[in-house]
């Protein structure tokens, strides 16, 4: 009979997990007769024999059941995604609702541009309502059409949402509040970089916005559009227009990231200004060296 106080060694022996020290101790106990070797071997044989116990083949319908279940779950998932798109378009998702609310508050608070902005907002709301109705009708239409074309339709909806975002972004960029203009630059990050209008709006912001933070944000946002050669040329041209050392330094970082050698001449023009900040001078010289 095997004493339970050797449980760790015996169970380790069964699973062949004894380390050298444990194995040595186990062997000593067996030799001294404290662990019944015959019984341990019987247990090991029984343990091993358990692996030969047979199991019938699973029911062949098990596969079919599982795949039917998985298909149903996938369809349910697609349905929920459609519902989410619908909510987004109706402005029920927090981001869109807040955006539109903020736009409305900003417009309502401006005395000088009230009439102009009201008209603009009215136009935007009208477009948003029209889009909302159009897209709702589209979604209902999609729902009634063959589900095999789901992906195509979702792509179309996605494109329309991007257009709506672009419209909101462009409108906010004209706003007097720097916070809203910053928000507009952030919205541009959710629009595909191939969008030419967005790139143009960001370049205009970089060159003309009175707020440094907004211009800095536009600089960062424009990196996404840098695969467009016209954007790269415009970014280089923007260098000499910048008076703020912070924006100049940010542009230097961008040019280095893009490895744009055409920026060298523009930086040299800036360096001709003796009144330039020392740290920015050092940064521009370093950038020229690396380009």
């Amino acid at each position: 009979m095997i004493n339970e106080k050797y449980i760790d060694l015996v169970t380790g022996y069964l699973q062949d997990t004894l380390d050298d020290e444990e194995r040595r101790k186990f062997d000593e106990l067996v030799e001294s007769g404290k662990i019944d070797w015959a019984e341990t071997r019987e247990w090991k044989a029984l343990f091993h024999e358990m692996g030969t116990v047979k199991v019938p083949e699973p029911d062949p319908t098990m596969n079919e059941r599982f795949h039917a279940f998985l298909k149903a779950e996938q369809q349910q998932q697609e349905l929920e995604q459609q519902k989410r798109w619908t909510s987004l378009l109706r402005g029920q998702l927090p981001g869109t609702g807040q955006l539109l609310q903020s736009l409305w508050k900003t417009v309502a608070g401006t005395r000088d541009n009230m009439r102009k902005m009201s008209r603009a907002v009215f136009e935007i709301r009208r477009y948003a309502y029209v889009f909302g109705i159009f897209l709702t009708g589209l979604i209902i239409g999609i729902y009634l059409v063959d589900r095999n074309h789901q992906e195509e339709k979702i792509d179309r909806l996605t494109a329309e949402i991007y257009e709506l975002r672009e419209m909101v972004m462009v409108t906010l960029l004209d706003n007097h509040s720097a916070v809203d203009r910053l928000r507009a630059v952030n919205i541009s990050m959710d629009i595909p970089p191939e969008d030419q209008r967005v790139a143009e709006a960001l370049l205009k912001t970089l060159n003309n916005d009175p707020n440094i933070n907004v211009r800095l944000a536009a600089t960062d946002a424009l990196v996404r559009h840098a695969s467009n050669p016209e954007v790269r040329i415009a970014l280089v041209a923007s260098i000499s227009r910048q008076e703020s050392p912070i924006v100049q330094a940010a542009l230097a970082d961008v040019m280095l990231e893009l490895q744009e050698p055409r920026a060298v001449e523009e930086f040299k023009k800036l360096l001709a200004d003796n009144g330039m900040d020392t740290l920015v001078r050092y940064k521009l010289e370093n950038t020229i060296r690396q380009l």
Binding site: Q15, E49, M50, P56, M62, F66, F69
Partner: protein, 207 residues
Amino acid sequence: MTFDSTSDNTLMVKVKNGDLEKLGLLFERYHRRLFGFFYRLTSRRDLSSDLVQDVFERILKYRNSYTGEGEFSSWIFCIARNLYSDQYHRMKQNGEYENPEESGFSRDKEEIHRDEYDESGDRMLLEQALDRLDSEKKQALILSRIEGFRYREIAEITGCSESLVKVRIFRGLKELKEIVAKLGKEEKRDRSGKTTKTDPDTKSNMF
């Protein structure tokens, strides 16, 4: 957690992130093992198939709780074990549970052995003896010997300490040997035409 795109953990993370198709791959990898696990515990083919299905439904339902820590195999068998435990309690409450000592060899197993008339008698005795072990010991032995889990992993799956797992393995094997010996004697007596008496000291399957 491995970042191999085909590892179980990676597939499960993709399922968690919405790529439900990957659950099909995990099903292919695990359904037979799970079926075998359930069958050895329940001796019922239909119930084992149902439980396998339940495992994957539960995986999908609770996929957001998957953290990717540890081995996926331990996680899926933990779900399987919990489902079996729920099923066992349900069956006992509804009076559907068959005590193997009273009902004899299960119907499904008779089906297997009918086709293998020259099956080793010892193996049949071992199967009968396994059926008579209590559930916790049986699970520990199956997870260790058949599924190849280490004691630490079995502890995670069954929600107990590693020491307790070793105790169950130790006592389970001891009992298994005793039951096999007893069944062997009964069989010899049956073969020689003598009446078999039911031993009043024999334990019934209990948790």
